[in-house]
């Protein structure tokens, strides 16, 4: 039974999140598999070194063999011995718009994934369960495409300058006002690249003498931005409010490490939806903690903007909170709006400061005009300002698809991580051979999925990640579910023992380390 948290009225709706524990037998067998592959990896490395086998990966030159070795660490070992064997599940070239169905170029490898050749055939109409196309705006026909084509013929494709020099178009101003109105904040600023939004703006906001409290499973862009800023970074356990509160208390009580002075700023970095787990941040509790301990909140809504909330305005609307409580609302246009780029929204003083001091504004080229127009059209569509109810219908379709898909997968017996309402659905695979087998079998049945292993996830918890879309019709989902069922029976992936672990709802103290203790 799912443990439903009603935290004294902070939550207006049930918060169902579950991360079923790895079955012991599966964990042991996964280690067995990795052990066998490691042994064979050592054998192959030995053969490569003694020239029994041709060496096809990068090595040092003959003259450099006595230098400090470059390729002996675990990542390189993993790369040449384990990743190479299943490499054909990634970097697959697609040759059409990544909508609900996609075309893919067929490729084969004759030397076990070291090189690929194209057969020339194009596999058509593969059901696309891997693209971040939550509201289905990745289209090649429709209002967005026509508007973007018109702007392309008017402005061209290149901007040839940065925001601060000659690259500030009237389209950018229009976009920023629209985004600010969409989010319910005073002002917003848009950047050309979502990763660069995070990594280039966090250093502008915090510096040395500040404290950053970041979630365990934050995205690489947040981690990079935090490290570049030079502030002290402390990590709290994933979505664990007791851990966060403990860190905040310690920070306020003890201050900076050596001098005991109070911290200049405390910034909490969280994401709206975590893409590898499918979990949603506990925003009401984070905001309550932020207000109690007087710190700032940076919310990265890369996957949740457009995908959560009754009118698609993100995780703040999903919980029924006010956008003024979040100090810095960041998001990307890549996922739900079918374009590229990122934005930051907040108070007017903050955004004016970022316009002057952000690295991205000073050095990065601004967004391309057709992309800006795509975003403007899609945001207007979601808000309903283009006169139709298409946007609202898409948001509701996504929510229905999410609930249906997750319910059916759980009934079939797979282990699914994450919150009931998140459109990111990770299905656990665990064993390394099943990662490759799952990707290949699903492609044989004309369904494109994304499988993830180490280093994006912990080494035994590899998974297949489905991203649902409003463009998926129920027939497509049913076909996909039927094939997943078949492949699940073929590969024995139905590990769930239907014993969902209740979430920890009692105070966190030094003696509890796992969420599974009684």
């Amino acid at each position: 039974i799912n443990h439903i948290v009603h935290n004294g009225g902070l939550y207006k709706r049930p918060f169902n999140e579950a991360f079923e524990e790895t079955p012991m037998l599966v964990a042991v067998l996964t280690y067995v598999g990795y052990g066998v592959l490691t042994l064979f990896g050592y054998l192959r490395d030995f053969m490569r070194q003694w020239k029994i086998e041709k060496c096809q990966n990068a090595t040092e030159r003959e003259e450099q063999k006595d230098f400090v070795p470059l390729y002996q660490d675990f990542e390189n070992f993993y790369n040449r011995n384990l990743y190479m064997r299943i490499r054909d599940s990634w970097n697959r070239p697609i040759c059409s718009v990544p909508g609900a169905k996609v075309d893919m170029m067929e490729r084969v490898s004759h030397d076990y994934n070291w090189t690929f050749t194209y057969t020339g055939r194009v596999i058509k109409d593969i059901i696309n369960m891997g693209s971040y196309n939550y509201l289905g705006f990745a289209q090649k026909a429709g209002a967005c495409q026509e508007a973007a084509a018109k702007v392309l013929s008017q402005y061209g494709a290149g901007v040839c300058s940065t925001r601060q020099e000659m690259g500030n178009l009237d389209k950018h101003e229009e976009l920023e006002k629209l985004v600010a109105r969409f989010l319910g904040v005073e002002s917003a600023m848009a950047y050309g690249m979502g990763f660069a939004t995070n990594s280039m703006n966090i250093p502008a906001l915090v510096g040395k003498g500040c404290l950053i409290l970041s979630d365990e499973l934050n995205h690489a862009s947040l981690v990079l931005g935090a490290r570049l800023s030079g502030a002290t970074i402390r990590i709290f356990k994933h979505n664990n409010m007791q851990s966060l509160e403990k860190l905040l208390k310690d920070a306020i009580v003890h201050g900076q490490p050596r001098t005991r002075r109070p911290w200049k700023k405390i910034l909490i970095l969280v994401e709206g939806i975590y893409s590898m787990e499918g979990s949603i941040v506990r925003l009401p509790e984070v905001i309550a903690l932020k207000k109690k301990y007087k710190s700032y909140l940076y919310l990265d809504e890369a996957h949740s903007i457009g995908a959560l909330g009754p009118s698609g305005r993100g995780v703040v609307e999903y919980f029924g909170l006010s956008p003024e409580d979040v100090d810095v609302m960041m998001g990307t246009f890549t996922k739900s709006f079918g374009a590229a780029g990122g934005y930051i929204g907040g108070k007017k003083e903050l955004i004016d400061y970022l316009r002057t001091y952000s690295h991205s504004a000073a050095y990065a080229t601004s967004m391309s005009p057709p992309v800006v127009e795509q975003i403007i059209t899609s945001v207007k569509c979601i808000m309903g300002e283009d006169g139709t109810t298409v946007g609202e219908a898409r948001v509701q379709q996504l929510a229905e698809n999410t609930r249906y898909f997750r319910r059916r997968l759980k009934e079939m017996g797979f282990i699914i991580y994450g919150n009931e309402d998140s459109p990111v659905v990770p299905l656990m695979l665990y064993m390394p051979a099943k990662i490759g087998a799952f990707g290949r079998e699903m492609l044989k049945r004309n369904i494109g999925v994304v499988v993830v292993g180490f280093p994006a996830t912990p080494i035994i918890e590899s998974r297949a990640r489905f991203c649902l879309s409003a463009a998926h019709t129920k027939e497509m989902l049913d076909t996909a579910l039927k094939e997943i069922n078949e492949v699940g029976d073929l590969l024995q992936l139905k590990y769930s023992r239907r014993r969902l672990v209740p979430l920890l709802d009692r105070p966190f103290d030094e003696t509890t380390y796992e969420e599974t203790e009684d």
Binding site: L29, V32, G33, Y34, V36, L37, F40, R85, I86, Y112, M431, P432, A433, K434, G436, A437, L490, L491, Q492
Partner: protein
């Protein structure tokens, strides 16, 4: 018979997936399976010797309890 064969084949596929021999090149598979078969063969042989020896001991004990005293050094009955 066909069902049994396909079940055995499915079981073999599961073995391949769990031990990751699904990902190996053919010569690696040959090496791995021959090593596995050699170890399994040795285990079976050891089990056969061990079990046969202990079973024969156990039967002798049983015979002697049933009132057929056997004139050998391993008899426990006084």
């Amino acid at each position: 018979m066909d069902v049994k064969r396909s079940y055995l084949y499915w079981l073999f596929c599961q073995f391949e997936l769990i031990t990751c021999s699904y990902l190996m090149e053919p010569w690696e598979k040959v090496l791995f399976y021959s090593f596995n078969l050699a170890v399994a063969g040795l285990l079976l042989y050891t089990a056969y010797i061990c079990v046969a020896f202990h079973l024969s001991l156990a039967f002798q004990l049983l015979w002697s309890f049933l009132g057929n005293p056997r004139e050998n050094a391993l008899s426990v009955v006084k």
